[in-house]
């Protein structure tokens, strides 16, 4: 069955035009030309080869998005069990890590130190510790270079220690990834601790339980937080890396306002401090 996605599969497509497009890096999207003479198997093969190359590139994009999702999910499965060494391996050598309000840790070795600080120097969870961190809601955006990507995720957290404390929380990641020698890695991890509150009473009755500070007191960061908007109940939007995939809504055009603004209509700018 033919599809409308490309016209390359039409057997009668002009091979010369196709070869020319190859050289010009264009795509043969014009109307099929049927009157050109067939120039032999070599040209036909070149057409098929180009068609295959395009399909391989498209399949590679699907594989890239899947690999990035797998990477982030693997991160979640390692971190929730305190497997810091495995988690660290997922980062590029020059990656940066910025979780909550702890500031920025630069490079793989510092990221490893950060994770170990979370685990109080030890690999694995402590007896009686719960560290569930569910990685959900991926929005993956591949870079045009085929070697970089960004993704937004949501982390759901159920943390605590039996007989001591329990917290429920969530927050978004805006992460960046790099394809290094065919393998996707984290190049930048940034997570906003939107809310993390004692389970008893939840977000209606509690402020953030650690004000977004985890280990920076004992392991100072390499750079301060890239932005700081406080902690719950302070709310802010970690900007989306993606643009609207369809369009931003615009209201139907209002009747033309012919009259000049009356002296009573104040500009809005003075409304908020």
């Amino acid at each position: 069955m033919l599809t409308t996605r490309t016209s390359w599969q039409h057997k009668n497509i002009c091979p010369l035009l196709a070869l020319l497009s190859l050289l010009l890096a264009g795509s043969c999207s014009g109307p099929p030309v049927t009157t050109q003479p067939v120039t032999g198997e070599t040209a036909d093969l070149a057409v098929l080869q180009q068609q295959l190359s395009t399909l391989q590139a498209r399949a590679e994009q699907v594989k890239d998005a899947n690999a990035i999702k797998k990477l982030q999910r693997a991160y979640g499965y390692y971190v929730e069990k305190g497997l810091w060494d495995e988690a660290t391996k997922l980062f590029a050598d020059d990656a940066t890590l910025e979780l909550a309000r702890d500031g920025v840790y630069i490079g793989k070795e510092r990221i490893r130190q950060y994770f170990y600080a979370l685990g109080e120097g030890k690999q694995g969870l402590r007896q009686g510790q719960l560290n569930e961190q569910l990685q959900v809601m991926p929005v993956v955006t591949l870079g045009a270079d085929g070697k970089s990507a960004k993704a937004r995720w949501r982390n759901i957290l159920l943390l605590g220690a039996l007989g001591k404390h329990a917290e429920l929380g969530e927050g978004p990641f805006e992460n960046e990834y790099v394809k290094d020698n065919g393998i996707w890695k984290f190049s930048k991890m940034k997570w906003q601790q939107a809310v993390l509150v004692p389970y008893t009473g939840g977000w209606a009755k509690n402020e953030d339980y650690n004000k977004g500070i985890w280990v920076s007191g004992k392991l100072p960061p390499d750079a301060p937080p890239t932005e700081d908007h406080g902690w719950w109940p302070q709310t802010w939007l970690l900007p989306f890396h993606f643009s609207n995939p369809v369009a931003t809504y615009a209201p139907p055009s209002a009747p033309v306002a012919a009259a000049p603004a009356s002296p009573g209509s104040q500009p809005k700018q003075g409304d908020k401090p």
């Binding site: 190859l22 180009q50 590139a57």
Partner: protein, 454 residues
């Protein structure tokens, strides 16, 4: 699982020719043309890759479908997703072997079908699917996050990790092994800081066929369920491997051309599935931050939104008007409005122009100094592709519950969903009058059982 480091190396080398853009095309044009035989090898490899990418999507659908059946005690439907020789092991239940025994186990959990006073939301999250090189079997790790209640009796939070196996029989994927490693179970009123319940024990009423395969304990003990995969960065990659005779079937120019046309369509459908899932997830992020103009903008000009029995708002202008019911655009001071979207079961139409999706909603809502609440629900949405861009055409949510944080689900009094607004009314009444917990209701499915077609 068979691994192919050599193939991985080959892939890396071949990657040079995979770059998009003018540079690679020029480089490609400079290459000596390949022979039909060489081309056939490459096409066969791409074919195998596409088969495995399709399998990843099919398996995410399959596990999601299992989860939605489990939610509503649809035991027969759930059991039909297994191979005849499958095994099931749920926490400390021990092993039930064979489809008939799996059905018996599931039936031992409660009466068939949605039940009055029963909440059993079993979220299937965070999939890592690994398809075998031959595309005939697969393994997957999933996260379970559950909200369970018997009205007036008890209510729980639960978490766990699945390590499951799947097999393709006559082209249809089935579950061949379902193993849930339970992690945590706690009564809602206590939470995990106060009470941790032990993992389940083998039933005496319906003893398993084999004792538990793994000796472990729930939280507060620490246990790491074994991983079926190696570290994705440092471990060997699992790559699709074409069948030995795959290339031999592509010996003519016309056979190659036909196969490429077929792959063109199939890769298009894979990209469509990615685009639809991405769009729906973005919907969730816009909703969570009161980005009403952005949210209304992803609807078709004649799209509809129908949520919480508020009725149907038709057309993008009405959709935008509907969103005013949920708060002021961009304004979220001290307010949590997190609407999470996950467990999508997506079916793209063969022509790639429309898609149906069932997915799960879970919301954390409320405001500081006021009150908190949870919402659970199910979406059945329709997406369409217009001018080459996927858009949301029909957004329909069946809410399962709105639960006050302080009350949870055990003593949640039945209330109707919010219903029609008098000040901002819909264009038409709700298309389906659904019921919320503790009353039973089964949101209609857009799909049939993928194994039985029922």
């Amino acid at each position: 699982m068979i691994r192919h480091p050599a193939l991985n190396m080959l892939r890396k080398l071949r990657g040079v020719a995979l770059l998009t853009g003018s540079v690679s095309m020029l480089a490609l044009a400079a290459d000596a043309p390949k022979s039909v035989q060489q081309l056939a090898q490459d096409v066969a490899r791409l074919q195998a890759e596409v088969v495995n990418l399709e399998a990843e999507n099919d398996l995410e659908n399959l596990q999601g479908i299992f989860g939605f059946y489990f939610d509503k005690n649809e035991w027969q439907q759930a059991a039909d997703l297994f191979t005849d020789d499958a095994t099931l092991e749920w926490g400390g239940s021990g092993v039930y072997a064979g489809k008939a025994r799996i059905l018996a186990y599931l039936q031992s959990l409660g009466a068939e079908g949605p039940q009055e006073g029963l909440l059993n939301d079993q979220m299937q999250l965070q999939p890592i699917v690994t398809v075998a090189p031959d595309g005939l079997s697969a393994k997957a790790r999933w996260h379970l996050f559950s909200q369970e209640a018997v009205h007036g009796v008890n209510h729980f939070w639960g978490t766990g990790v699945y390590e499951n196996e799947y097999r393709r029989e006559n082209g249809i994927w089935k579950i061949s092994k379902l193993q849930l490693y339970s992690t945590m179970l706690t009564p809602y009123q206590d939470g995990w800081g106060v009470t941790a319940l032990p993992r389940s024990k083998p039933s005496t009423r319906l003893p398993p066929d084999r004792p538990p395969s793994t000796d472990y304990q729930n939280y507060p003990a620490v246990f790491v369920p074994p991983f079926h995969y190696e570290n994705p960065v440092t471990g060997a990659q699992v790559l699709a491997q074409p069948a030995a005779d795959a290339a031999a079937k592509l010996t003519s120019m016309s056979a190659l051309s036909e196969e490429l046309a077929s792959l063109d369509k199939r890769i298009g459908l894979l990209q469509d599935a990615d685009a639809v899932e991405r769009l729906h997830t973005i919907y969730g992020y816009y909703l969570a931050h009161n980005k009403w103009d952005e949210l209304a903008g992803i609807f078709t000009s004649d799209g509809t939104i129908e949520i919480a029995l508020r009725g149907v708002y038709k057309g993008r202008d009405s959709v935008r008007r509907n969103l005013n019911l949920y708060g002021v655009q961009d304004e979220l001071k001290g307010t949590l409005h997190n609407h999470m979207q996950y467990q999508p079961v997506i079916h793209i139409a063969p022509d790639g122009q429309s898609a149906l999706m069932r997915s799960r909603a879970f919301s954390l809502m409320g405001n500081y100094g006021g009150s908190g609440r949870f919402m659970g629900g199910t979406y059945e949405n329709l997406f369409v592709k217009r001018d080459g861009i996927w858009q949301l055409h029909l957004d329909h949510q069946f809410n399962t519950y709105f639960a006050s944080y302080d009350v949870g689900w055990k003593d949640l009094q039945w209330i109707a969903a919010p219903g029609i607004s008098q000040t901002n009314p819909p264009d038409s009444p709700p298309t389906v009058q659904f019921e919320m917990y503790p009353r039973p209701f089964l949101p209609p499915y857009h799909y049939k059982n993928p194994v039985t077609g029922k």
